[in-house]
Amino acid sequence: MQPDELARSIETLESTAAEGALLANDVAGDRSKATFVRAHARELGETVEHEAEKLNDAEADPQGGVAPAKVKAINLADEISAALGRIQIAPDDEAEGGAAEKELSALSEKAGDLAEGL
């Protein structure tokens, strides 16, 4: 796996987490529709899981420098997926939405930093 491929993958994680944060923010403010939140959070979760699978299957040269970043990206994907799961399970819970929004924003920033470091 080349650094630019890994960076693209991490950027997908960053974008998905940021979108999840936007969605969670609307849950927190009771400004969305539960069916939409549930279906869209599921969709975003699937995107993240697919990206994690791709990262897991990609071969990264342990000497090449991207292997540690790849592991970090897979862990990030897990965390983003879990945070999206919170609003998918409780799309009407404003407190849960607020917590997920904070978590997803932080994860998006973390992904951005990781991509920039490559």
Partner: protein, 395 residues
């Protein structure tokens, strides 16, 4: 007039405008009026040709091209139109699932039945009115783009083309222009004019349809791009789903904005589904010389009716295959560009022909704009596949 909106703002426009707004922002805005002016000019020309000669676009293709070239044009347009039809049906499945959360595949089936029922039960004018008027709910994007308090100076500068080194910028510029000029739109427009029995008395209706209708569609496209640039770009979000396009309206207006966006998307994309299905059936029937049209009872011309049903079923199979409608849309838009010159050339040739058009032949301005746009289309036909590969599909 309203009909043009439903046919203009389809899933390709929704996706490309939102992606362009999120990716390159308002500097790509100028591409929208360039595309809209192109479709206005050629739609008006094709409507005028129908009013004078009663010949829809594929009849012109058949008359002006060799058998081999007209067959190639038919096959290429059918492949791209049916791919678009699959993307539209898939998009409908996703939006309905956002509203009821059962399963996307189930709602693709529901959408197929709803579209088939609308085609069977509604008259041609009724189809246009229902889908066109309800599609106006997409105006929420214009209102949203204003409510989001954009930098108006930046928006103004976005309408002026600028020198840009990034290939991804040019990819979206090409995509935005192409999304406005999708071949099925012009095939449907000219065949629809035959369905409605236009003659020389309908020149004003034709102009209103082409300029006001497509103009309103263009404004909605601008609204989507500007709103996406305000909501998605600062957050670094790349819209890979139709849900993201809906989310853009939710941010300023909450659930009301979301519901209006869904209504608008359902009817605009539903209208485009009908347009693409009819367009494919019209092209095949006109190429084969069959009797065609909704103005006849469906069972009076079984070959046309069967091809209409067949194309809907192929589109349904594509949508059910699990292929991502957004990716499918991007492929359909980008790969329709090399076919654009074949679609638009016969309109220009006939519009310029005084033997056919008589006193309604293209004037100097129409002639100049027509050739200028044809040159642009040829340039895009070369640039689009290159940019697609170079930018990895704008990614």
């Amino acid at each position: 007039m309203i009909a043009a909106i439903g046919g203009f703002v389809d899933i390709g426009d929704l996706v490309f405008n939102a992606q362009a707004g999120a990716s390159v922002g308002t500097p790509a805005l100028w591409a929208v009026p360039v595309g809209v002016l192109g479709i206005m000019i050629f739609a008006e020309m094709s409507g005028r040709i129908v009013a004078v000669s009663n010949k829809p676009n594929f009849v012109l293709v058949k008359e002006r091209y060799s058998t081999r070239l007209s067959t190639f044009t038919l096959v290429a347009s059918l492949v791209l139109t049916v791919l678009t039809l699959g993307a539209e049906l898939g998009g409908l499945g996703f939006v309905l699932n956002y509203l009821f959360d059962v399963s996307v595949n189930f709602f693709v089936l529901v959408a197929l039945f709803a579209i088939a029922a609308a085609i069977y039960f509604l008259p041609f004018g009724g189809l246009e009115r229902v889908f066109g008027y309800m599609g106006l709910a997409l105006l929420v994007y214009i209102v949203a783009s204003i409510k989001l308090d954009p930098d108006w100076g930046e928006i103004g500068r976005g309408f002026v083309p600028e020198r840009h080194g990034a290939a991804v910028y040019w990819y979206f510029v090409v995509g935005l222009i192409a999304a406005a000029l999708m071949p099925y739109e012009i095939y449907f427009y000219s065949s629809g004019a035959v369905e409605e029995g236009w003659d020389e008395r309908d020149m004003k209706v034709n102009k209103a349809n082409a300029f006001v209708g497509f103009g309103l569609g263009g404004l909605i496209s601008v609204g989507i791009l500007v709103a996406a640039a305000q909501v998605l770009k600062p957050a670094g979000i790349s819209p890979d789903s139709i849900g993201t396009v809906a989310l853009v309206a939710e941010v300023p207006y909450g659930e009301t904005g979301l519901i209006l966006a869904f209504i608008g998307i359902i009817f605009a994309v539903g209208g485009a589904t009908i347009d693409t299905a009819f367009s494919a059936a019209y092209n095949l029937a006109q190429h084969q010389g069959w009797k065609w049209g909704k103005r006849f009872r469906l069972l009076d011309e079984p070959r046309f009716t069967l091809s209409l049903a067949g194309f809907l079923l192929v589109g349904f199979a594509i949508a059910q295959s699990g292929v991502d409608p957004i990716s499918l849309t991007e492929y359909a838009v980008i790969f329709s560009i090399p076919v654009l010159p074949l679609t638009y050339l016969p309109i220009l040739l006939v519009g310029n022909d005084p033997n056919v058009m008589g006193k309604h032949v293209n004037g100097p301005v129409n002639r100049l704009l027509g050739w200028a746009y044809f040159g642009l289309i040829c340039l895009l036909a070369v640039a689009a596949p290159v940019l697609f590969v170079w930018t990895n599909g704008g990614g």
